[in-house]
């Protein structure tokens, strides 16, 4: 996939350049871990580029946290190699790996105040007291926690605790930062603000970061690249845009974004779905096989009569209209009975324009039409 084509995300290269001396590549080969006969990591090969923000995304049980724990050293794999730059660390104890980790429930020491928590890694590294005070204060400033040093942990809000945990993870300038669903305990608004803040922090520090989440939107927002995990294997690794636009497999398409799927019949090089011919620029129709059409709700449009040039069009009937403030969700059933969802931006005055029961014509631009081969896990 084309990384350079992504204009929204210049950070990956600049961040790496800014923190060259800190940014380490991680190279993982054949990493495996099984509990009894059940493999949780099934021969993982993964390269994290220097200074990259890589997100491990997957449903629960896909092995994403296990993989992070193996990188951190809390979990001993059965076999495999983990290299930070050119040093092998797979047998190294966690405390010797120089990793800054942010835990899901913060793991702040309740018997220490904020400054002692943040200064903890420095004290243990025998940094002089004056320098500890200076660096702790600088780290707290960075997270808008200046003057909070003497507060007890139970006097802080969830968001503040999260910031203390982040400050503690970066204060000793670790070679790599690992985060295990660090924002999952925060409410939606705070979470979205912290996502941006974490992203900015990463751009400033340029430290190689591996982030675990099961929240696809979070992964899309923050990452340079996303690795989608499925049953202990990496199903797909690419930039957020590439993964979203061309998921490559049904599993990835289902996991990232909300999509409707249509069964496609292929005969004599022509694809048909829900009674209509489908043209796609991406996948040359495999002869005499079935495949699946992915319909992203925001790429679908309601068509007026006469519209539809350069589009694949389907006939159907509206079953429900849901108003969500910024968007209008339109649920429809196509002629073959497949349910489809269309997302539209709302405008004033469009209330009541569409009613359940009405016939409707739905179109998707040919350029946006993505076909997936039906073989599970097969990438285009």
């Amino acid at each position: 996939m084309n990384l350079a084509a992504d204009h929204q995300r210049p950070a990956a290269s600049t961040a790496a350049a800014a923190g060259t001396e800190k940014a380490l590549p991680i190279a993982i080969r054949q990493l495996s871990k099984a509990y009894g006969a059940l493999p949780v990591l099934d021969g993982i090969d993964l390269d994290v580029r220097p200074g990259e923000f890589l997100t491990l995304l997957g449903p629960s049980g896909s092995g994403k946290t296990t993989l992070l724990m193996a990188i951190a050293g809390f979990l001993r794999p059965d076999r495999g190699s983990i290299r930070f730059d050119d040093s092998e660390v797979v047998r190294l104890a966690p405390h010797k790996r120089e990793i800054g980790m942010v835990f899901q429930n913060y793991a702040l020491f309740p018997h220490m105040d904020v400054a002692s928590n943040v200064g903890f890694p420095l004290r243990l590294r025998r940094v002089p007291a004056g320098e500890i005070a200076r660096r702790v204060e600088a780290a707290l400033e960075m997270f808008h926690l200046g003057g909070f040093g003497r507060r007890r942990i139970d006097q802080l809000s969830g968001g503040q605790r999260q910031r203390v945990a982040l400050a503690r993870a970066i204060v000793f300038e670790p070679r790599i930062i690992l985060m295990d669903e660090p924002l999952s305990a925060l409410d939606k608004q705070l979470r979205e603000r912290m996502q941006i803040e974490l992203r900015q922090l990463h751009e400033r520090l340029g430290t190689t970061t591996v982030y675990v989440t099961h929240d696809q939107r979070e992964a899309l927002t923050m990452s340079d690249r996303i690795a989608v995990l499925d049953r202990g294997r990496i199903a797909r690794i690419d930039t957020p845009r590439a993964i979203y636009d061309e998921p490559g497999s049904r599993f990835v398409a289902e996991f990232i974004g909300e999509s409707s799927f249509l069964d496609v019949e292929v005969a004599d090089g022509i694809c048909r779905a829900a009674g209509a011919t489908v043209i796609s620029p991406r996948l040359p129709p495999p002869h005499g096989r079935r495949c699946t059409l992915v319909l992203r709700p925001e790429r679908l449009r309601l068509l007026a009569t006469g519209e539809g040039a350069g589009m694949n069009c389907f006939e159907g009937r509206v079953t429900g209209v849901i108003y969500q403030g910024d968007t209008l969700l339109l649920q429809a059933v196509l002629d073959d009975g497949s349910p489809v969802t269309v997302r539209q931006t709302t405008r004033s005055g469009d209330a009541g324009a569409i009613r359940p029961g009405e016939p409707v014509r739905i179109g998707i631009a040919i350029a946006d039409t993505v076909l997936l081969a039906d073989e599970p896990g097969q990438v285009q």
Binding site: R29, S81, R83, V90, R91
Partner: protein, 305 residues
């Protein structure tokens, strides 16, 4: 970076450190076992060895030859079986009374006393007697129930009876009273914990669903606190079953319990093999009870999170 350069350094056999990682795993296990070894050794020396020795002793006859003579004699002698039955009855009565007294108390502490300070104070007042010497606590009832004890003084001074009575002490009732007094904290403690862990939401939900207070108690609180009842009953029963101070202090001629038999065989009668056989039987009974109780407990257990 290519995969090839990594592969080259993966290990001599190209096994991706599998052997080394396995070695690390076992080394860590061994280290942990080493740390636990002193404790395990202590248990082996102070518990397993003596019990094993006692057990083997029970199979020796008077001449020191292997035989089942002790067990045969134990079953043939009616006074022994009678003592076992008596002990069983007394322990059962003690346990039942402990439930009847302990459950309302624990319930009251958890659901009625709303102030944390008062609750802790009252709870401590149940537990604190455990810190007083066991012998002293057993003696207390000898003093209260005795011929010139507190109860008789009260009865005489109020004119209910003209002369002190000797019917209170030295019988099975006095023994049960003493045992209940000594062991009731062991019933209250698990009950308190279990009741305290019942989420108040469940009670609210039950009432919201139209169930009255009594049925809420019967259908919600009782099943959820059953684990505590079982744990408390097991402790109380086993402790009462092995007690020998209460029978000596408060028991009469018909109040001999199994522990007193043991004491006699190992002490006055100096018949260690027979004593060992009796002790083995007691151990088997207690182990069976523990097994039953743990089965019952897991059967009704619900994860409350």
């Amino acid at each position: 970076m290519t995969a090839g350069s990594i592969h080259a350094a993966a290990g001599p056999a190209g096994d991706f450190h599998a052997a080394a990682l396995r070695r690390d795993h076992w080394r860590e296990r061994l280290g942990l076992a080493g740390l636990a070894a002193p404790a395990l050794l202590l248990v082996a020396v102070t518990m397993l060895l003596p019990v094993g020795w006692l057990f083997s002793l029970s199979f020796l006859d008077d001449g020191g030859a292997l035989s089942l003579a002790n067990y045969r004699r134990m079953l043939a002698e009616p006074s022994y079986t009678r003592t076992f039955v008596t002990t069983f009855e007394i322990s059962l009565a003690t346990t039942a009374i402990c439930i009847l007294l302990g459950y309302p108390l624990a319930y009251f502490l958890v659901f009625t006393v709303t102030s944390t300070r008062w609750r802790n104070l009252l709870y401590m007042s149940v537990v604190v007697p455990l810190w007083v010497s066991y012998l002293l606590r057993a003696y207390t009832w000898k003093i209260i129930l005795g011929t010139d004890g507190a109860l008789n003084s009260l009865l005489v001074s109020t004119g209910i009876v003209s002369a002190p009575l000797d019917i209170f002490l030295y019988n099975q009732t006095a023994m049960v009273i003493t045992l209940v007094y000594i062991f009731v904290p062991f019933m209250v403690m698990p009950l308190f914990t279990v009741l305290d862990n019942i989420p108040r939401r469940l009670i609210e939900a039950s009432e919201d669903l139209g169930v009255g207070p009594f049925m809420t108690f019967w259908k919600e609180i009782v099943p959820l606190s059953l684990g505590g009842v079982i744990a408390g009953s097991t402790m109380t029963f086993c402790l009462a079953f092995g007690d020998f101070v209460a029978p000596v202090l408060a028991g009469g001629p018909d109040g001999t319990m199994v522990a007193n038999l043991l004491q006699t065989q190992f002490g006055a009668a100096l018949n260690w093999p027979l004593g060992s056989a009796l002790a083995t039987l007691v151990l088997v009974i207690v182990l069976v009870l523990l097994q039953i109780s743990s089965r019952l407990d897991t059967a009704g257990r619900v994860e409350l999170t």
